[in-house]
Symmetry: C2
Subunit: 359 residues, 2 copies
DNA sequence: TTCTTTTGCTAAAACGCTTGATCAGTCGAT
DNA sequence: ATCGACTGATCAAGCGTTTTAGCAAAAGAA
């Protein structure tokens, strides 16, 4: 004989979670008891199972109980059953170092949430032990996969434990294992866009202050510069390519050399160099963009948008990198050639290049 | 197709995890079977239970099996049993917006890891729906507690769901619920330190360009300025306090007014204003620190360290904020007065203030 | 009426782990 | 010999869900 005790109307204010003080959180069982049904039924109601047959009246009663008790499902238990968690891991080597990593996180999170995943983040700041621990932690939480990201675009080794999981390299790539999925910014296209801004400004003699540090960006941005010139029918002049350390001091220090080149425009490897160059040019009594037009690269908000004049530049698509990384991980997107997926670096035009009026 | 990539070197190299292809991860049971013991024993070995009595030989056998099979504990199952997860949630309203949030994350993570916790991060970018979902997600994962952080120091409302968990406000505070634990930067001390840098530089007439935006920082930094002057026996002159919008343009725009005040030094509400002011002063043919000494606030790395000359400033202790937040959450630290814990803002001296030689 | 569906719901087995209770031997001490 | 105290390990319950198989009652078909 089954005693179907229906819950005899909880005398509390209707619709308001009652939740007395309790040591332990409300469980499915308790909801079931309150609603006078089995846990199975509650589970079915909660998950809105399509082919479950539940009377509307029952469904209602369960939902009331849930609200009444302020029930929260226990994600651990859920994941235990399903065998796989709703986590995507993101290991980053420089959340703290730059404003950039934040955008990768942001993009990854937005996209992850869109697909019902939460982000488990670990910031390694380049510490390999930390990194190993971080990956181990993620594996223990049975993440759906791991996004391994670097704060600047570069080749990287794939930590061996990473292979125990599905993973995607974000803002980096592995020369050793070319089959590893990766998503990176399209440096060459970016370099071309940057140069194009100047070409559209009517400039013909355009210098490029490249970085001294070897990196995919160094080669890519130069290639883009050359491609843009070529497309415009301007012969490439190696003398117009300088090199300097990629920070403000580097840009500043390159001023003298630059001025010997008699150019009307400069494309800097990054915004920080452009910022330094601004100082250098100003000290030489030159105005921007009147005497010399300048474009940067990175669109580092704090700098680019607020220099005097505001700097035209090309955006590093960190947000998209993060988002695309998640999509790749989930198998929703793949690089055409099976290797690294390249994300566009969109131009951001500001006042450091004058608009070209007529021919 | 998966196998090759995921399991390199499957040949029976001794001591190396063998891990054949399997749909499901290795479980405790399997380790137990491999070692010829019960799961209980394996569990005891793994967790190095102090009062467990296990023969060395057995322990050895278990450890071998673990290594052999490449076993990884399932954190979900573990947490299910223990009832509480090893997560600390961090909801931030601006990971992407500023370089600052990154430091909060960094500090929180370092401290969390130190105590065996992993960080579950949600970036809301100020979106309240997202925020609600984020908190719900964290509650479902039964986080140990939640750090609710803002990217700039400000009063905030405590979302009601947040109260379902242990929480600490980081870089913000709740006027409505003064009992809520919080950790914030010591703006007044920071303002005093900033002013002190100038005082030590021998300056007596020091202007303060405050922000126009109401915020704890506005009041605190001003209070610190006044306190420093008072301590130095200099009467406070309201005419020396200007106000401008707290960005480069604001600082630049304040130049003219500033120059009417005939001061030898300026303390800016933040580094961005200082950066703008640099431009303004330069345009007026004034040199830093020769003609006018400048200090900022925030120690925004990209700017402060690389202006010409590098900017003396005061550091916003974001890393410490995050770390202290975690400690508070875990009950390892508390504010003396039971309200908000104030973290010191350390001075960072660079070249924008000349060293004072003798009296 | 009797048989077959359909409807609404429940029982119970997992999921992978921890842990208190237990138990079979061993060893000294009486 | 007998007893207690260890030692080394196992049993089994339980953590909060999901989910498949199945059951009783109601509804339709004959």
């Amino acid at each position: 004989m089954i005693s179907q005790e229906k819950n005899p109307g909880n005398a509390a204010t209707p619709g308001v979670p009652v939740k007395m003080d309790r040591a332990h959180p409300v469980t499915l069982r308790e909801v079931a008891e309150a609603a006078g049904v089995s846990t199975a039924t509650v589970s079915l109601v909660i998950n809105k199972k399509k082919n479950a047959r539940i009377a509307d009246e029952t469904r209602q009663r369960v939902n009331d109980a849930i609200r009444q008790l302020g029930y929260r499902p226990n994600a651990m238990a859920k994941n235990l059953v399903s065998g796989t968690s709703k986590f995507i891991g993101l290991v980053a080597d420089g959340v703290a170092t730059t404003p950039f990593a934040g955008q990768i996180i942001h993009g990854a999170q937005d996209e992850a949430w869109k697909h019902g995943y939460a982000l488990l983040i670990a910031n390694t700041e380049g510490n390999l032990d930390l990194e190993k621990d971080a990956i181990a932690m993620m594996l223990e939480y049975k993440v759906r996969g791991i996004l391994y990201s670097t704060w600047f675009h570069r080749p990287t080794a794939v930590p061996s434990t990473l292979r125990e999981s599905d993973f995607v390299l974000v803002n980096c790539f592995s020369p050793d294992s070319p089959s590893a999925r990766a998503v990176v910014p399209d440096e060459a296209q970016g370099g071309q866009s940057a140069t194009d801004i100047l070409l559209r400004g009517g400039h013909r003699r355009i210098a490029f202050i490249n970085t001294t540090t070897p990196a995919p960006a160094k080669d890519g941005r130069l290639a883009g510069y050359r491609a843009a010139l070529e497309a415009a029918g301007i012969p490439f002049d190696p003398a117009l390519v300088l090199e300097a350390y990629p920070d403000q001091e580097g840009g500043y220090g390159a001023t003298a050399e630059l001025l010997k080149r008699d150019v009307s425009a400069v494309y800097c490897y990054n915004d920080r160099m452009a910022m330094g160059l601004y100082d250098g040019l100003r000290e030489n009594g030159l105005s921007i963009p009147g005497d010399i037009a300048v474009v940067g690269f990175d669109n580092q908000e704090v700098i680019a948008a607020h220099l005097r004049p505001p700097l035209s530049t090309v955006s590093l698509p960190h947000y998209e990198l993060g988002a695309a990384g998640v999509r790749m991980l989930l198998g929703l997107e793949a690089a055409p050639d099976g290797a690294a997926l390249k994300i566009e670096c969109p131009a951001v035009e500001r006042a450091s290049v004058a608009v070209h009026s007529a021919a």
